[in-house]
């Protein structure tokens, strides 16, 4: 098994008065009527699943169902409150748009910066640099700081870097938002090739046709729980409401 999620629950703490500060804390000591500063919210509740080699999993569900939270937990951005997660292999996460670029660095610097975080060594990065830039079609802008990039450019660079070297586990959240149809087409082709090399892919998307073309297995989440887990039938049921 490549990814094992074992009875994972995740608690979020919602703060009622914006972000807590030392000022608020001291003001609260003086206040006579104390209102509770936070309430708890379970974003994931007893989620268990395991994903084997070569599986292509689509995670579906309404807004706020816990899809992105699940992905972030798999990528170790969030630590589960209970339960545990085992991921065997190198994870390449593309969460939200972009993949953890430094806004002040240029595109080229970010290839090295982000690549190092992904666990690639410098020699490998030097080898793939031109390929990454070519696939992202950013030759013209590669020495511009990424903070000036458009959403589409940002996403193209992130996707290109994450997929040029085949990661063992590719985690994608609303991947092609902002990409033009030509890039989406090339991106899909690249993903098909990757799947042949038996890497795991986990994808969160609301785009039905993308899900149908890329995924074989679907997990339906609602309010932090798994409603259904199975083949394309699950997607059909979800779409039917």
């Amino acid at each position: 098994m490549k990814v094992i999620v074992e009875d994972v629950s995740l608690k979020f703490r919602l703060y009622h008065e914006g972000s807590a500060s030392a000022k608020e804390y001291f003001a609260n000591l003086l206040r006579r009527q104390k209102n509770k500063a936070f309430s708890d919210f379970w974003a994931l509740k007893n989620v268990s699943l395991s994903i084997g080699e070569g599986e292509r999993v689509g995670i579906i569900g309404r807004n706020g169902a816990g899809k992105s939270t699940l992905l972030k937990t798999v990528c170790r951005v969030y630590e589960p409150t209970y339960g545990r997660i085992v991921a065997n292999g190198r994870i390449a996460p593309l969460l939200e748009i972009g993949a953890g670029f430094h806004p002040e660095f240029t595109g080229r610097e970010n290839i090295y910066f982000n690549g190092t975080i992904l666990g690639y060594n410098k020699r490998l990065l030097r080898e793939i640099e031109s390929e990454v830039i070519a696939f992202a079609e950013l030759e013209e802008f590669i020495d511009t700081p990424v903070k000036y990039y458009s959403t589409g450019m940002y996403m193209r660079l992130a996707f290109s870097l994450a997929t040029t070297v085949h990661p063992d586990i590719l985690v994608l959240d609303e991947l092609f938002a902002g990409g033009d149809s030509e890039f989406v087409k090339r991106g899909k082709e690249r993903m098909y090739r990757m799947i042949d090399r038996a890497s795991v892919m986990i994808l969160v998307s609301h785009d039905q046709s993308l899900l149908r073309s890329l995924c074989k297995r679907f997990i339906w989440l609602d309010h932090g729980k798994i409603i259904a887990d199975g083949d394309v039938d699950v997607l059909n049921r979800y779409c039917a409401g």
């Binding site: 030392a22 608020e24 170790r76 996460p93 972009g98 953890g100």
Partner: protein, 214 residues
């Protein structure tokens, strides 16, 4: 710093050159401590976009700040040391103690920086508060004056201030040309060890919650 040297050497009625060396030896450890603690406080907040998107060992952020500023401080030390040589300061064998002083200072500072980095995520106004506290600490540390210059009711503040020990570690070899006393070295070692252990314990306890609060 040269303005400070001119002003205070006049106030204290000391020779400018002697005072400049005295000031520099105290300023080096203090500014390393103060900038590291303040900047570590911002290390997670500034890298928020990164921490929320990809797993990075979180210790790297305060560690990166502390090490980068250490290199900065070492370079400042070399530059100021050359000035000391030019204006005719004492160069003694005791200077070989400086690297060890740096090591102890680094450990002590790093522990405090670890606590600061996590705490600032919880209450962001802490960075402003700490900025002000550092200003107060500067005047309560024997940077501009000798530790025994502050007499009377406030003298205990100086003796309780951990930075007094670390400033002494630097000042004795650079200014007086002697090795610091064994007591000072032992107290500093104890402070550095406590700080690092408390810092690492606090950090390990809270680092997993950081991503939720950014």
């Amino acid at each position: 710093m040269s303005v400070t040297a001119v002003v205070f050497s006049t106030i204290f009625n000391m020779d400018l050159k002697t005072y400049a060396i005295f000031l520099f030896a105290g300023m080096i450890p203090f500014s390393y401590f103060s900038t590291s603690v303040v900047q570590s406080g911002q290390s997670f907040i500034q890298n928020e976009s990164l921490l929320k998107k990809i797993y990075v060992p979180k210790l790297l952020f305060p560690l990166g700040v502390s090490v980068a500023l250490l290199i900065d401080s070492l370079l400042t030390f070399v530059a100021l040391f050359l000035i000391v040589v030019v204006i005719g300061g004492k160069i003694s064998f005791a200077l070989i103690f400086v690297p060890f002083a740096y090591l102890l200072l680094f450990l002590f500072t790093f522990g405090v920086a670890l606590v600061m980095s996590v705490s600032t995520v919880y209450s962001r106004d802490l960075q402003h508060i700490v900025g002000i506290l550092m200003q107060a600490l500067l005047f309560l540390s024997p940077v501009f004056y000798k530790p025994d210059a502050l007499q009377g009711k406030v003298a205990w503040l100086i003796s309780l201030n951990p930075l007094t020990q670390f400033i002494d570690l630097f000042r004795t070899p650079i200014y007086s040309g002697e090795f610091p006393s064994l007591t000072t070295v032992l107290i500093s070692m104890a402070l550095a060890a406590t700080s690092v252990f408390v810092g690492l314990w606090f950090f390990a306890k809270h680092e997993n919650k950081v991503a939720f609060r950014l």
